[in-house]
């Protein structure tokens, strides 16, 4: 993962109006490399955003999937409830849960990548 040396240099392309705005003296990536307080703060914000997203998905999973056994205990009539000829637990656990996982996974990937893009825009805009 070495980043030094070859490869085309990045060239700053901005409109005249952008040039007029105030810029930080150092790019934030250098703050991160030098582990300054500012760099650490940026890193913590990224890690926290990603963790919050991940734990959010886990919590949703815990409530929906983890809640099912409890639901079947509290409402025993649901255990044998007929849904289109099949008992409800089978419809949920042998069918619907799988597309649910995929939808949830895709949603997570979109948001995790957005977090990373936002972070990259934030720290990289002046290099």
């Amino acid at each position: 993962m070495s980043r030094d040396g070859e490869g085309p240099r990045r060239v700053l392309v901005t409109s005249p109006r952008m040039r007029a705005t105030r810029r930080p003296r150092h790019p934030v990536t250098r703050e991160i490399d030098e582990q300054t307080g500012l760099g650490e703060a940026y890193m913590r914000s990224l890690v926290r955003a990603q963790l919050r997203l991940g734990l959010g998905v886990c919590a949703a999973l815990g409530v929906v999937v983890g809640g099912l056994p409890l639901l079947f205990v509290l409402a025993p009539e649901l255990r044998g409830l007929d849904v289109g000829g099949l008992p409800l637990p089978w419809v949920l656990l042998a069918g619907l849960v799988y597309p649910g996982f995929v939808v949830c996974g895709r949603w997570y990937v979109r948001h995790a990548e957005r977090n990373e893009r936002d972070f990259a825009d934030l720290v990289d805009r002046d290099t």
Binding site: T29, L46, V65, P69, R79, A94, G105, E116
Partner: protein, 575 residues
């Protein structure tokens, strides 16, 4: 099922596996190739490979068997085995790839900068790998006995030998190709027969499972017992017995009294139509409507269900052969996308075992008496379709089952051998070869010596062990800066110790009854929280042993690769 078809199916899969493996051989040159296929594998192929590696004999045969025996509660197994990838996706996939580590011990070393943690992790990888390999080899014995009538040890030894050849000849590159091929083979092998089975079921008038009676023989049925069993009869039934029963030789009509009976192997018993199927004493007798409902007719069902959910959802990320696959992605973003594809592929596959389990309850209830419910997938085509078509479908299923052992065993062997070769032997390609033999022949010995356990049960214990050790290490290591060396060590030792004790008790003695039995057979619900608590608690008590480079490691784990930042100089040990 005809032996010729079965043997042909087994030979074909073995030959195809070796061929595809050798085809990949010419690219595999350096040690890095052996371990991670040079990180040039496309997401779909990588995802197929993960699926192929992950869908073991437990998924292909075991789940349907457990659903046949225990009913709706067992639907949680495939749900957890898939959902585990969702947890893995959101908590560890991208950071783990970005860590640049090849194996779990590499990750432990990179994050905690401690050789002690590395060594403990290596031992755990080997133990989990062996625990997972053992039931694979056992079920290989079972399948070959069902398909071709060979003695039990033949299948286990055959799989061990083919995997050895394959791993030694090509390393991971060939394994990646083999695994990707195996996923599609397994999906086809399970999906095509189920279509024919469902057509036959409809033509049979679509019998259901709503009755309030235990399964009964629909017609006069002769049951042949393959191994010594103890069965429970609930009311007297006139039968015809050929062979040994209750210590006496029989060759004619007998009335089976209510109560326990011991039936010797190779005994044939003919039951009249409508007789209730006697159950092996280890299996609960449940009416069909109880069977179709969750949480009915088992001791501590709620605890068992939650513990199973915990073990599978959190254990997936700790399986050594799953993690090594993530290093073959080019970057963290690709690792995430691969994981979503894996969710799709696994979801498609796991729609099928429940159908086999339910059809088995209707058409092959005698498996409840012989105790070999793991054979339901292989038995159904012959029973329901019959004729040459039935034989062909059985052969296809046998091929899929063989693919299942080969792929999972290969993947496990590669990762266990990688760890043994790197951390216990000297490293290098020669060590990897010696380690391959060690990785495979220890569980082979165990499989031949240990008493027969349900495949999915042993696999479940491997998940519980992984969830109690590697899940806290990975999750806290990736997201919590204050994890310390002492905390990680204490958590691994406590989690591994508790779950390991439960595993040994369950495998050696069979779990005791009552609450203790439930706690030991499904340990995850108490061992995982214990491991997390110890790891966090000890870390908070020893703030001085926080690794020096943790800030740099966090940059490495979490920043996207497109950013040019200093990620530190740690590289996995080249072997």
């Amino acid at each position: 099922m005809s032996t010729a078809y079965g043997l042909a199916a087994v030979s074909l899969v073995v030959a195809a596996t070796v061929l595809v493996g050798t085809f990949g051989l010419r690219i595999s040159r350096t040690t890095s190739d052996f371990y991670v296929a040079s990180r040039t594998v496309s997401p779909l192929r990588n995802a197929s490979a993960i699926g192929g590696e992950y869908l073991s004999a437990a998924s292909f045969l075991g789940v349907a068997g457990l659903i046949l025996a225990y009913g709706a509660d067992m639907l949680w197994l495939p749900v957890g085995w898939t959902g585990g990838y969702l947890v893995l996706l959101v908590l560890i996939s991208a950071p783990l790839r970005r860590s640049g580590a090849y194996t779990l011990p590499d990750f432990a070393e990179a994050r905690l900068e401690s050789m002690a943690v590395r060594r403990v992790t290596s031992v755990l990888v080997v133990l989990i790998g062996w625990l997972y390999l053992m039931p694979q080899l056992q079920s290989a014995g079972l399948v070959l006995r069902t398909a071709a009538g060979t003695p039990f040890w033949v299948g286990a030894v055959l799989v061990a030998v083919v995997v050895t050849i394959n791993v030694l000849s090509g390393g991971m590159r060939s394994i990646t190709m083999v695994q990707a091929f195996q996923y599609w083979l397994k999906l086809t092998a399970l999906a095509v027969p189920v279509l024919f089975l469902l057509i036959a079921w409809r033509q049979d008038g679509s019998p259901g499972l709503g009755q309030d009676t235990p399964p009964a023989f629909a017609e006069r049925t002769t049951v042949s017992v393959g191994a010594d069993v103890e069965v429970r009869v609930d009311r007297p039934v006139p039968v015809v017995v050929h062979g040994r029963m209750d210590g006496a030789q029989h060759a004619g009509p007998v009335t089976l009294a209510a109560g326990e009976h011991r039936i010797a192997r190779d005994t044939e018993i003919t039951f009249p139509a409508g007789a209730t199927v006697p159950h092996v004493s280890a299996l609960p007798v449940r009416t069909d409507s109880e069977w179709a409902q969750p949480l009915a007719g088992r001791e501590y069902p709620l605890y068992a269900t939650y513990s199973l959910i915990m073990a599978t959802f959190l254990g997936t990320m700790g399986l050594p052969h799953v993690l090594v696959r993530f290093y073959t992605n080019p970057d963290g973003r690709a690792a995430r996308r691969t994981t979503v594809l894996v969710l799709t592929l696994l979801g498609a596959f796991y729609l099928l075992p429940a159908l086999y389990g339910a059809l088995g309850r209707i058409y092959t209830p005698e498996l409840l008496m012989t105790g070999r419910t793991d054979a339901v997938v292989l038995t159904l085509p012959d029973r329901l379709v019959g004729g040459t078509l039935g034989d062909l479908l059985s052969a296809l299923l046998t091929a899929g089952a063989v693919a299942a052992f080969l792929s999972t065993s290969s993947g496990l062997t590669v990762s266990v051998a990688g760890v043994i070769g790197q951390d216990i032997l000297h490293g290098g390609v020669r060590s990897f070869r010696a380690a391959t033999l060690l990785a495979l022949f220890v569980p082979l010995g165990l499989a031949l010596a240990a008493r027969a356990l349900a495949v999915a049960d042993v696999v479940g214990l491997a998940f519980a062990l992984a969830a109690s050790t590697f899940c806290p290490l990975l999750v806290l290591g990736i997201w919590w800066r204050r994890l310390t060396v002492a905390g990680a060590l204490a958590g691994l030792v406590v989690g591994g110790g508790l779950a390991g004790t439960a595993v040994v008790c369950t495998i050696l003695g069979g779990p005791p009854g009552g609450l203790a039995g439930a706690l030991l057979a499904q340990p995850a619900a108490w061992t995982v929280p214990a491991a997390f608590a110890v790891m966090i608690g000890v870390s908070l008590l020893t703030p001085r042993s926080t690794p020096a480079g943790v800030a740099r490691t966090m940059v490495r784990l979490h920043t996207p690769e497109t950013l040019q930042v200093n990620r530190g100089t740690w590289r996995p040990k080249q072997v």
